[in-house]
């Protein structure tokens, strides 16, 4: 007797983005093993950009599917297709294409050969996209690990640099520690609610009153701590400045954009969809995280003299702002978070593209002094950096302004006036170092820096251009993107 195996029904449109990135990664891996000669860097870059472009096309069809059929879950309800995941996937696809172009120029300049960079970047991206779509704590854990394991190696990809290997070890140990805490939290939530599925947890919590909520609170708190490590929220941020500084600059740009999008998307889903009925329990914890993250991030950035460390602390400050939308826990908060991620990702990739270019051969010139008079020597490069910095500051007519406005409005909407004021205060502190850096760009330069014009390779120039155009376009005209973010959260799975 031959037993028949029932195949699970899988809605493939939902998981196509993950399959594309995994497929591209495996394709490059096999191609590099089969090819007699070394795979050219430009080939690997083209494959990555094509994978990102294909994903953008798929997200268009996913969006149309949503319009017709609404939210879909598949693979035993563990993976979800909703507006939030579609938009987050599109953000990641854009960011990974931009980051790949920056890495291309960097690899050529530094003589880093081989397809490994893009293979690992593609695999990491697949993990990040899986996190945005995950509707089960175990799938979030898998996405997190796929994302992180690639990144640990990417940080150490330039084997000539001692500090990269050390940063990688530090990132690995703290990342593994955070993952273990996260999954222990998931185990306790499983014990408290009987499932690891986020929709089931939400349903269980909505229809039952827990007599002893200790297990649930402990589990939720541990899951939050795990996420706080990944998004570098204070007091779990210690690794971030060292890793940002030690990693090759294009990898730092990749981390700052893609990890943030993936981790925040999963965090939103856990807090708003899974534990949404218990929001009153989590709000004080999130409130403390937001206050510490915004204020400490901005304050510690002020004395920094290294551009990469400064941006690391600045990204901690931004993580605090994005957390405000999660704290609000409303549809408006979710839309604000999505808008913030959509605008922050291209801005930060373009900023790190300029840092990569300025780093010069050896990727070592990262002191703020080396930026003195940049806008006088190279007006376009200097002006681009000024626009990107002002956007991160939150200046009007850049995307940063509306992004900050949206999260603060969402906070005030949810009775968080004090929180909004503290975040504004931190933005004022952050303004001091962004403005100081901008002033340095336009300052009179000494003679010794006159000769050091940096070469801007073509692909990096494209990335910087795209970043600046997006920043200004949606800064002047945020309407369409804000509407998209609102529509996306309408389709947020309840």
């Amino acid at each position: 007797m031959i037993a028949t195996l029932a195949m699970p029904s899988i809605h493939y449109l939902v998981i196509v983005p993950v399959l594309i990135f995994f497929g591209a990664s495996l394709f490059l891996l096999i191609a590099s093993a089969m090819w007699r000669r070394a795979v050219p860097t430009s080939f690997t870059t083209v494959v990555t950009v094509l994978a990102a472009a294909a994903t953008l096309v798929v997200t268009y069809f996913q969006w149309r599917d949503l319009d017709h059929h609404g939210v879909t879950t598949t693979v035993a309800h563990a993976v979800v297709l909703d507006g939030f995941s579609v938009v987050a996937t599109a953000i990641i696809a854009v960011a990974v294409a931009l980051a790949a172009l920056v890495a291309h120029d960097w690899a050529r300049r530094e003589g880093v050969r081989g397809p490994e960079y893009q293979i690992l970047a593609l695999a990491s991206t697949a993990g990040a996209i899986l996190m945005t779509q995950a509707n089960d704590l175990i799938v979030i854990f898998l996405g997190l690990e796929i994302l992180s394991l690639g990144l640990y190696v990417l940080v150490a990809i330039d084997r000539r640099k001692v500090e990269s290997a050390e940063a990688s070890l530090k990132y690995f140990i703290l990342g593994g520690f955070a993952s273990a805490i996260f999954i222990y939290g998931a185990a306790l939530l499983y014990g408290a609610t009987g499932s690891t599925n986020i929709s089931t947890i939400s349903y269980f919590l909505g229809s039952n009153v827990l007599l002893r909520p200790g297990l649930l609170v402990a589990g939720g708190a541990l899951v939050l701590v795990g996420f706080a490590f990944k998004i570098a929220a204070v007091p779990f941020h210690m690794w971030s400045p060292d890793v940002y500084e030690g990693a090759p600059t294009p990898v730092t740009g990749f981390m700052a954009s893609i990890v943030k999008v993936g981790a925040f998307a999963a965090l939103m889903r856990v807090v708003i969809s899974g534990l949404g009925t218990q929001l009153a329990t989590w709000r004080p914890i999130l409130w403390g995280l937001v206050v510490l993250t915004t204020v400490v991030g901005a304050t510690l950035a002020v004395p920094q003299r290294n551009a990469k460390r400064l941006l690391a602390y600045s990204s901690i400050n931004h993580a605090g702002f994005i957390l405000i939308g999660v704290w609000a826990g409303t549809a408006r908060g979710a839309a604000a978070t999505l808008f913030y991620l959509a605008t922050y990702a291209p801005t930060v990739v373009a900023t790190f593209a300029i840092l990569t270019v300025m780093g010069g051969l050896g990727d070592e010139r990262h002191s703020l002094e080396s930026y003195r008079g940049l806008a006088r020597r190279q007006p376009w490069l200097g002006a681009s950096l000024a626009v990107l910095l002002l956007s991160q500051l939150g200046a009007p007519l850049t995307t940063g302004f509306y992004a900050k406005y949206a999260v603060l409005a969402a906070a005030i909407d949810a009775n968080g006036v004090a929180l909004a004021l503290i975040a504004l205060l931190s933005a004022a502190i952050a303004a001091s170092f962004y403005l100081r850096w901008t002033v340095v760009l336009y300052a009179e330069s000494d003679d010794e820096f006159e000769a050091t014009r940096v070469v801007v390779p073509r692909a990096s120039a494209v990335v910087i251009g795209v970043g600046v155009v997006l920043t200004l376009l949606f800064g002047v005209w945020p309407g369409p993107l804000a509407t998209l973010a609102q529509h996306a959260t309408l389709y947020f799975i309840p």
Binding site: V153, S168, L169, I173, T196, W239, D242, G246
Partner: protein, 101 residues
Amino acid sequence: MSVPASWYLVLAAVLFGIGAFGVLTRRSALIMFMCIELMLNAVNLTFVTFARTMSDIGGQTTVFFIMVVAAAEVTVGLGIVVAVFRRRASTSVDELSELQG
């Protein structure tokens, strides 16, 4: 003789605590690494215990995922430790002095 499920949960919590304490206090990268593995195994024990008390297969299958992830982490982690060791001939994190947190 039957052992109450809570004993297993307490044992898992203690193992997890030992692991977390080890990561935070030990200075050898390899020992820190073993402590992370200990934490993951404590999680496995927790999952299996809950799965047994609830007669739910989900928790037991989760353990396989965690074991696979732990194995993948070992591969990457040892690679990084070896890369650092080649430079330094030491796995103590105190001697990682290039970056001052």
